[in-house]
């Protein structure tokens, strides 16, 4: 037996919460008690957003996928659905994400490389051919050019006879985090936010079951934020969009219901669980107390989690399979609605078919074999988990207060302050890993001499890129040029007049205007973003 006054080295989570070696009921009391735990499906949703959680509705499995042309992506989609995936998570290539057509000079060498190339509605039609849009929920990972791609998706649904009122799914469309990490911004901060709010307004009115914004703490965490900062920034960004929508006179209940979240999962398992439980509680409270939201669909923090590329290593990459399984475990214990698990080869390539299937199987084993769906929020009532959930909530609130005191999240991002802060932390962390102060198996612990493992990419096929450009030229030649011009003029007018651009964007995509043309019109009106460089 160790004596009670024995000095152990401290355990401190990344978020700055110090962990006791033993938790007792009095620790729970001291941290704020059990009052806010409540019941699943009940405000403030600490235990999960649905009353029966996975017992009734297991998480959706939605691996990020897409590459090359629409035809190839279509094949991969069918393959994933055939293997039991229950949703689609679409990756777009960088030109599409940056609002450029495949024949733009800046697109050279990038067409179809990291995702599917989309120039016009014709590409979306091909990618989703024969896929039941009212049975499979589709997640569009697109931000800067979201107005164009979302309009294409809605136009596609309409053409295929799926009523917009019933359409489910979501678009990432979180431009504020693009300024912090990921970097597919196009327009300056203010008009970018306005476009997000345009989509929120449009969906609240016309596509009420669709989530037009998935706020990503994920990329802020990947850029160097702690889990507490990740949640705080995510909530602050969500509130920023909501506030802009309210300034426009929109109904808080309707627009808040369209906001979902995307969180990271790497790091300490318990810390992630506390982050999710505390985050759910805080979101519900913020919405109710600050914005008077009462719609229970809105109060429920619904999320996708399971990605955590930052935790994977290029050394001994098979270890990433194991890490992935623990990440999936953490997201299930944290009560996620959707999982998109990182793949073991993600540290050095775009996931291979083999790796993507292993991730899918990992989630399926968790769901079907080891009992993760047996009961709701199985960690509830643990003195440790409830104490750390309370402490995490306080931590997140403190960060939220700090952000507000310094002028709000939009200002912090526009000035590059948040970017500089998380980057400084990333540097500090990386320095400590390289110095062996933060243990990382295979990197600074249990290091092995390994055969040189090469980074792999899907081979880039110039031919496919050329075919994509030919296809675009074909569409351009076939479409009604006058109708395109009219539609783009209408878009220009709406953008300049401060009207909602979505109806005009729908007209433009239906006339087969391209992503580059639509974003080009918006650039004419709004200008382009200039990145603040701060260290």
């Amino acid at each position: 037996m160790s004596s009670p006054d024995e000095k152990l080295p401290p355990v401190v989570w990344e978020s700055g919460i110090e962990i006791e070696p033993v938790y007792r009921p009095e620790d729970v009391e001291r941290s704020g008690g059990l009052e806010a735990v409540g019941d699943s499906g009940e405000y403030p949703y600490t235990r999960g957003v649905h009353p029966l959680m996975y017992r009734k509705r297991p998480w959706t499995m939605r691996q990020y996928s897409g590459f090359g042309t629409a035809a190839e992506t279509h094949e991969r989609f069918l393959w994933l659905l055939e293997h039991g995936q229950t949703g689609l998570n679409v990756a777009f290539d960088l030109p599409t994400q940056c609002g450029l057509d495949s024949d733009d000079p800046m697109a050279e060498g990038e067409v179809g490389r990291v995702g599917m190339a989309v120039d016009t509605l014709a590409d979306m039609e091909e990618a989703f051919a024969g896929i039941d849009l009212d049975r499979v929920t589709v997640s569009l990972t697109i931000n800067g050019s979201a107005v164009a791609i979302m309009a294409m998706y809605f136009a596609l649904a309409r053409k295929r006879g799926f009523p917009l009122e019933k359409l489910r799914g979501n678009c990432q469309n979180d431009i504020l985090k693009e300024f912090v990490g990921r970097g597919t911004w196009i327009f300056p901060a203010e008009p970018s936010i306005r476009l997000v709010v345009d989509t929120m307004e449009f969906c609240a009115r016309r596509v009420p079951r669709y989530s037009p914004v998935s706020v990503c703490g994920y990329h802020i965490r990947e850029s160097g934020a702690t889990p507490a900062q990740e949640m705080a920034c995510g909530l602050a960004i969500a509130c920023a969009y909501l506030e802009r929508a309210l300034e426009r006179g929109l109904d808080a209940d309707a627009v808040a219901a369209g906001i979902t979240f995307n969180f990271d999962i790497h790091g300490n398992l318990w810390e992630q669980v506390a982050k999710f439980r505390a985050g759910r509680r805080l979101w519900a409270r913020l919405l109710r107390e600050r914005y008077g939201v009462s719609n229970s669909r809105a109060l429920k923090l619904r999320m996708i989690a399971g990605g955590g590329g930052g935790g994977l290593t290029i050394q001994q990459p098979e270890n990433n399979i194991v890490r992935g399984a623990y990440y999936a475990l953490a997201s299930a214990l944290g009560g996620t609605q959707t999982m998109a698990l990182c793949s073991y080869d993600e540290a050095y390539t775009i996931p291979s078919e083999h790796a993507a299937k292993l991730s899918l199987r990992t989630m399926q084993i968790l769901m079907h074999e080891v009992g993760l769906c047996d009961t709701v929020d199985p960690l509830a009532g643990s003195w440790f988990v409830e104490s750390t959930t309370n402490l995490m909530e306080k931590k997140i609130l403190d960060i939220l207060d700090d952000i507000e005191r310094q002028g709000g999240i939009v200002k912090s991002i526009a000035e590059g302050r948040l970017q500089a802060e998380v980057n400084r932390q990333a540097w500090e962390r990386e320095r400590r890993i390289q110095a062996g102060e933060i243990p990382k198996v295979g990197v600074n612990l249990f290091v092995e001499q390994e055969a040189e493992r090469d980074i792999e990419f899907h081979p880039y096929r110039e031919q496919e890129a050329r075919r994509q450009i030919e296809r675009l030229n074909h569409v351009r030649a076939e479409r009604d040029a006058a109708a395109v011009e009219r539609a783009l003029d209408g878009l220009h007018r709406a953008a300049a007049a401060g009207e909602n651009v979505m109806p005009a964007a729908m007209d433009a995509v239906e006339a087969y205007a391209s992503v580059g043309e639509i974003c080009g019109v918006l650039k004419d009106v709004f200008g382009t973003y200039r990145e603040p460089i701060r260290f």
Binding site: L94, G109, E110, R113, E178, Y348, W427, D454, E531, I533
Partner: protein, 131 residues
Amino acid sequence: MAGKIRVLIGKPGLDGHDVGAKLVCRALMAAGMEVVYTGLRQSPQAIARTAVEEQADVVGLSILSGAHLPLCRKVIDELGRAGWEGSCLLVGGNIPRRDHRQLEELGVAGVFPTGTPFGEITAFIEEKVKK
């Protein structure tokens, strides 16, 4: 001693992953070098222009999208056209080993794939640029 080594870190192309580029900036600064970071989505022309304007001894490119071969080729052409007189061009990011040789043949002095310890990069630069 003729002052600090000047390094330009550039992000050519459309790739928005800048965590690594910014970490390398900090590592080089910590090693006492002057660092200029271009920010994202720079054209090869813009990178070459900045390299000349900033009198960079070293230009380091960060590329994770897989487009390193065409991008390096273009940046090297533009550096030549702009009359850059620095010591060496480096590239880091997701760079497959089988491309290293081709990059070196293009004129890339050093390739530092993701996961390279910072010390290796700073030592390489200090060796190449004797000031």
